[in-house]
């Protein structure tokens, strides 16, 4: 990892820390009497706040996970060069796309 990747990795980590705390609180709140789709969607549909919250969460997590995976593939998988970049960027993009699709699924009215 060089300084650029480090800044992204630790920057997204610092952003994710409070987001995860809120997410954990929501997990406990949402399971207070069983998780239902109606309960979840009534909270999220049409909410700009939740769209921004989960959108930022997905973007930060995608970058963070891609760089983490890159380290692991380099150190434990022996990957390097283009293969490594392709795998890390590919995973990050896939995660971002799937994540934003999921955010759209729960917030679009």
């Amino acid at each position: 990892m060089n300084l650029r990747l480090y800044l992204w990795q630790r920057g997204t980590a610092a952003l994710l820390a409070p987001l995860i705390l809120i997410h954990l609180a929501v997990i406990f709140y949402a399971t207070r009497q069983g998780l239902t789709a109606a309960d979840i969607l009534s909270r999220t549909r049409g909410s700009i706040a939740w769209a921004l919250f989960y959108g930022a969460f997905v973007a930060a997590a995608a970058i963070h996970a891609a760089i983490g995976l890159r380290n692991i593939l380099a150190e434990w998988g022996g990957l390097g060069g283009r293969t490594l970049a392709f795998c890390a960027v590919g995973f990050g993009l896939a995660l971002a796309l799937l994540g934003l699709r999921a955010v759209a699924a729960v917030v679009l009215p």
Partner: protein
């Protein structure tokens, strides 16, 4: 690889770093499934509801509490790194790491009690 080296890892801080990495792998593997499941709402509330009722199985709830455990482990492991890297050095890190592991276990256990 390390034919002559084996006992050098017997330290709680080494295990803290390893737990951080392994929990990260676990979360990275889970996230696409999490997103796909939520994406079911694109096909309407019923599709998501169907999935949630499937997830009422005890074994799924057990797995979910495992994921909560991984999330808290990774959060606290990350905070450990941010503290060590950005603030002045402090002693007693082993106790903090053990406490963090216990806290992660406790949160996951509370989640399991709540959903079972």
């Amino acid at each position: 690889m390390n034919a002559y080296l084996s006992a050098h890892r017997a330290s709680i801080l080494w295990f803290a770093a390893m737990a951080h990495r392994l929990s990260g792998i676990g979360l990275a593997a889970f996230l696409p499934l999490h997103f796909l499941a939520l994406g079911l709402a694109l096909r309407g509330e019923a599709a998501l509801e169907g999935f949630l009722r499937w997830s009422d199985m005890g074994v799924v709830k057990l797995a979910e509490s495992g994921l909560v455990f991984l999330l808290v482990v990774h959060l606290l492991g990350g905070l450990r790194l941010l503290l060590v890297e950005n603030f002045s050095w402090r002693s007693g890190q082993s106790k903090l790491a053990a406490g963090a592991a216990a806290l992660a276990g406790l949160v996951a256990f509370l989640f399991l009690i709540r959903v079972l």
